[in-house]
Amino acid sequence: MAKRSAPEVNAGSMADIAFLLLIFFLVTTTIEKDSGLNRKLPPMEEDVDPPIIKQRNIFTVLLNGKDQLLVEEELMEIKDLRAAAIEFLDNNGDGTCTYCKGVKITSSSDNPDKAIISLKNDRETSYATYISVQNELVAAYNVLRNRRALEVGPQNGFTDMNFVEMQKNYKDARFVGNKTKLKEVINQIKVEFPQKLSEVQ
């Protein structure tokens, strides 16, 4: 029998297949980027008298070792915490806050500048619960700041942009618009609703 040489495989389409695979993986892989809750710790200061703060301006949140939540001496579910925190921050007891929409009861905070949320935890509190509570408290601030951003934004030429989007746009290099103005608006809102969240040791 005569030996027949094997016909050569056409490799011209190999590059196409390779590119197809390459594009598939390009599209489907995501690069993990770290994200999280940014916090600032209080500086270590020795023998400084703690400022006297009225009890009604402090919103105490206590997490015990069994992951139970005690808000202003009352048991609460984590899902209700956000609304309670908003109510406290937005209360406007002394009427100086013109942009607040709170109910102005005298037993709650004076204005957002004076309102402080104090978060206290036990050693046995689980980290997962702690993060959930932190998240809800940050959410409360974000809700108020978003609301304010939708009021302030249009006057400065940033319509339909809430606070979170403003911050995102400010960091985005592709954002077209007046960044210095945007920064001013962001800072104004940050001053109007300062994040005063104290983590007690």
């Binding site: 390459l22 999280g36 809750l37 710790l41 980290y127 998240n135 040791q201």
Partner: protein
């Protein structure tokens, strides 16, 4: 007879290697895209909790990582309590300050105030160890911290 007689030597024809560069480039690109630069190999369990009010950790500023969690399988001899991991090894609480000092020493001077400490804590860890670490960070004046979390509904953390 004929001038153009086919030579049938019967040997195997050479496989075309023209597409080899394509395959190599494909692999190269794939690994370039999919690789996450991991600084440390973890010796602890590190399942992060989730939150939905997260901000992206800005990589423009320097970031140092502190890991906390229970020793993972194979490291049981370190106990079942949550431990701190700095770089590639288990560390004691007292080493946190020195670690931050070392991280700062590696930075350009103007970047030092912007150093963020990312706390990557396992969700089953308790707050005791986290509180201790925070206290250590305050001692060395490293006040910018970030609780690194995944993205998701925070109420799912509690089961």
């Amino acid at each position: 007879m004929s001038k153009f007689k086919k030579k049938s030597d019967g040997g195997t024809p050479a496989i075309s290697t023209a597409s080899l560069p394509d395959i190599v480039f494909m692999l190269l690109f794939f690994f370039m895209v999919a690789t996450v630069m991991r600084e440390n190999s973890l010796k602890i369990q590190n399942a992060l909790p989730v939150a939905n009010q997260v901000e992206k950790l800005d990589k423009k500023n320097p970031v140092s990582y502190i890991y906390m969690g229970k020793p993972s399988a194979g490291y049981e001899k370190f106990g079942t309590e949550s431990r701190i991991q700095l770089n590639d090894q288990f560390a004691e609480l007292s080493e946190v300050g020195a670690f931050i000092g070392a991280e700062r020493a590696a930075l350009r001077e103007e970047l030092i105030p912007f150093l963020t400490v990312a706390l990557k804590v396992d969700k089953d860890a308790n707050m005791g160890i986290v509180g201790d670490v925070k206290q250590e960070l305050r001692k060395v004046n490293a006040l910018k911290i970030n609780y690194t979390t995944g993205v998701g509904d925070a109420l799912n953390n509690i089961k």
